[in-house]
Symmetry: C2
Subunit: 545 residues, 2 copies
């Protein structure tokens, strides 16, 4: 039996595009005499469809795609995820389902049982869990078909669910497992995923064909890395990350094992490649091409510019240098050097005139109070207005260059440097930005050395440095990581040896700045806990604040 895993990049709601991709892949697989082709979870409509599931029209369009695929299933088994209507009156109105189509018929319709409802996932918002677990006989082999999370209750001491679908399916003595997934990237997830899948294979001693999607949907990046396990628990093949591909496997070869091909998992290679896919899909799926960003001469805007240039091409990226009276000479020089290294267009537009005009305009209402964060914010907002003006006039999308450390503690100006259509680095701590810059510079010095070595500064008042108002990033970031990624409370963090006053101050900064994060762009997610849809915290609360 020859099984094709089609690791494809679908687009939410783009039924025609998604169907076209699957029909093309099916034709190719037929040409290669595959017996089965496996697409990902909710492949017809794209994952995650979110509240679109609540529209009858959206479900109808998904079903029409399944109808087309059913017609294309002459001589080949097509396994494809799609939302379906729950025929029972009780429970949620829909199922997250997988179809096994063959010779114009549905030979199995299996619903998802374990519905991830945590972090970026909201599946129980939409779907009723399956109560039935059936296997299917196909060309002499019994197949256990599951959807993504259905395998995640195995190999876990504190499982999230009270049932294990594969335990039930094993009563039928299946010969192999096939799983269709939409499992998103974070820099730990590919390794974690392999562990969970291996635990299943070690539990059930049958091979596993795991088909993941790739591609970004706004902030969530799916990395692919579809994988085939031999029954002895070894990885027979792991498909590439961040790349569409179809691979073919002979079940008989997979059964034998002994072949071992895993993808490398270097953290910053993964993050780098994830950001590129994230940017390409944000622009590509919205039908956009051109990005603009402010270049301050600092490391964050430099790394953002590099990522944008690699994702979109240098002809589609434009930098704007907007010096003020407080900008140092080296800032402009570093920003120019970067733009020249990248070969991107840049403009130098000083902000003095609008800044002065604002000061004059609000002079009376400022009531002679001294220079403070107000005037700093006016500068940042002048830059925001200029960037948005060029973006509006010429059809650019503004890239936000904020990093995760700043985003966490609210070190940034709403409607100023926090503006932008998509936030490229806001899931990457400042200390990690340095590592990413080193990765970028490893073969060729793209980012000017002094952007990397100079002390970080917003340059919004004379001689300002980030360390005037924040602890050093080498102290700040680990504390943020404990609170955000690990969800540890103050006592637990203090127990690691951090100073109590500092810990409480940082946690307070994170919590009181939730109102800023509420109004910022979607953040390309690369960590296990990114700001945005996967982290839901009240604004009006009095906790650690």
């Amino acid at each position: 039996m020859k099984i094709a895993i089609a690791q494809l990049n679908f687009h939410i709601g783009n039924f025609e595009g998604n169907l076209r991709k699957m029909l093309k892949a099916t034709a190719e697989a037929k040409g290669k005499s595959a017996d089965i082709i496996v697409f990902g979870e909710l492949a017809t409509c794209g994952y995650p469809p979110r509240d679109f599931v609540e529209f009858k029209d959206f479900i109808r369009l998904s079903e029409e795609s399944v109808d087309e695929l059913r017609q294309a299933s002459e001589g080949i088994g097509i396994i494809v995820g799609s939302p379906t209507i729950n025929p029972e009156l009780q429970g949620k109105d829909h199922h997250n389902s997988v179809y096994f189509l063959y010779n114009g018929e549905t030979i199995l319709l299996q619903h998802k049982t374990l519905l991830p409802t945590y972090d970026v996932f909201d599946e129980y918002r939409y779907f009723e869990p399956s109560k039935k677990h059936q296997t299917v006989m196909f060309k002499g082999k019994r197949i256990a078909l599951t959807i993504c999370e259905d395998l995640w209750n195995v190999g876990n001491e504190n499982p999230l669910y009270t049932t294990v679908p594969m335990d039930i399916m094993m009563k039928d003595n299946p010969d192999l497992m096939i799983n269709v997934s939409a499992s998103p990237f974070d820099y730990d997830h590919a390794a974690d995923r392999l562990e969970v899948l291996r635990a299943n294979v070690n539990q059930y001693h049958i091979p596993l064909f795991y088909s993941n999607i790739c591609g970004a949907q706004t902030e969530i990046i799916f990395d692919g890395g579809s994988v085939v396990f031999s029954p002895d628990g070894s990885v027979y093949d792991e498909m590439p990350y961040f790349k569409e591909e179809i691979r073919y496997y002979q079940l008989e070869d997979v059964m034998k094992g002994g072949y071992h091909r895993e993808q490398p998992k270097d953290k910053f290679t993964l993050i780098h490649d994830a950001l590129i896919m994230g940017l390409q899909d944000y622009f590509g799926k919205l039908g956009l091409k051109k990005a603009i960003l402010g270049l301050s001469g600092g490391i964050d805007s430099a790394v953002t510019a590099v990522m944008a240039t690699r994702a979109l091409g240098k002809e589609n990226v434009r930098g704007v240098l907007m010096p003020s009276a407080f900008s140092s000479k080296h800032s402009v020089e570093d920003a120019k050097a970067l733009a020249e290294n990248l070969g991107i267009r840049y403009d130098i537009i000083p902000i003095a005139k609008p800044y002065d005009a604002f000061l004059e305009t609000v002079k009376d209402v400022m009531e002679d109070k001294p220079f403070d964060v107000t005037e700093e914010n006016i500068q940042a907002r002048c830059r925001g207005v200029i960037l948005m003006a060029i973006a509006n006039k010429h059809g650019y999308i503004l890239l936000n260059t904020t990093n995760k450390s700043e985003m966490a503690v609210g070190y940034g100006t709403l409607y100023g440097d926090l503006a932008g259509g998509i936030s490229v680095l806001a899931d990457i701590y400042k200390t990690e930005i340095y590592q990413l810059a080193a990765y970028i510079n490893k073969d060729e010095k793209v980012i000017p050395e002094s952007s990397i070595t100079k002390p970080p500064s917003a340059e919004l008042r004379p001689g300002q440095k980030d360390s005037d108002s924040l602890p050093e990033y080498s102290t700040l970031d680990p504390i943020l990581y404990c609170y955000i990624e690990r969800r540890l409370g103050p006592e637990e963090i203090i127990e690691f040896g951090y100073e109590e006053k500092l810990v409480r101050r940082i946690l307070r900064l994170v919590n009181i700045n939730e109102f800023k994060r509420h109004q910022t762009a979607p953040v390309l997610r690369v960590s296990p806990k990114a700001f945005g849809v996967g982290r839901r915290v009240p604004i009006v609360a009095k906790y650690l604040s």
Copy 2:
């Protein structure tokens, strides 16, 4: 048996404040010889606690509050909602629970079974549903204790869940039901809630004591309206909306029925009062006092200013008139008249200087392209910068004045008129804003007549009117309502007789402007489907777009 329902306004994470309120209420109830006092759902920690539930520290603090209440339960039964740890390894780590405390002991700990996971609710993200359903004997009466949604699977032809907790509890033949709730307001919800509760009473024929919370938590407004039903299905008493109160009921009197006291449910009275509570709690719970807003002379900013003045007091509200070359004379006059009617401070700050300075600054990069939305946005953003400057310098919070129709179709400028800390009217369609204005003006003409009667205009170019780029609101709003509140697709809306091209254009505008709504302030929720946390739609999608 005397039962006290304590309808209180809790604050998320404010353990000390919440506990203090409950101890005070308990002391009062003891003084009045109550046998039981009933607080709301998750009263210890405030509802909805969101991801704070994932912090051990947060759960520990909730448990400490329960310990204090347990000590205070000498001689009185205290019924209080609080999160607890799920002792089982399988399933979610926590329960949404209710304690029955008496004489220093826990006499019942019941977990919630039906976990709302739709619209603004995310409960299955955090909580494991209860599998055990116990009743408790107290002073000769058997009590069935449930939490909010646990009663919502009755009287519903298409129920969301597959179990009915009360059906199970009825096997113990309870004498009465007590329910602790956190049921949020929308202008239909008080009536809907009574229907659901009545269906329970008619099903089980025992009295119901339903204790809801009141108060706003960021965008979600809880209206109270706690209610007591006699076993014959009649409302014995409905407590006021948007108000803390403790009321006492003799079970024997409730059993008799015949007494009937419901609250009036006029839509615009409810919306008006909801917005006031929403604003008071946004400011009050954040420890803030003062609001600022732009006054354009139009109806939206006028209604916002009225609501703010009624919520915060005229001494705490400041209006800013920011005319441009395109502002009509009557706009400034109408805005002044409004401010004077309200007795609020106002400033007149023309935007010409920064606007001209921006035009000059970006002149070269505009490449002689004609005046378009770019220049309109620059004006709106100049106003945003001025408002934020005054807000930053003097400690105001900027109120956003956008309405739901504009928010839906993206008729607004990001970082300009879409700026603000809280959006007061963005869940109210333009046609409803007129009705709210009429309600406000019913006794006294607070809003100038011409703000109400003149054609809506953004005044960002000469002679501009909203109807230049949008259909009339009387056509737009019903179509938006079909799509947003009713979640109907294009075919279904067209079947109502709307022109196909228009429907498709409007639905497309809604979908392609999701990126704007992603970056706007929280919206005070008054409808069954508000923009924000209760409506989750992908930005990068190709559906009706």
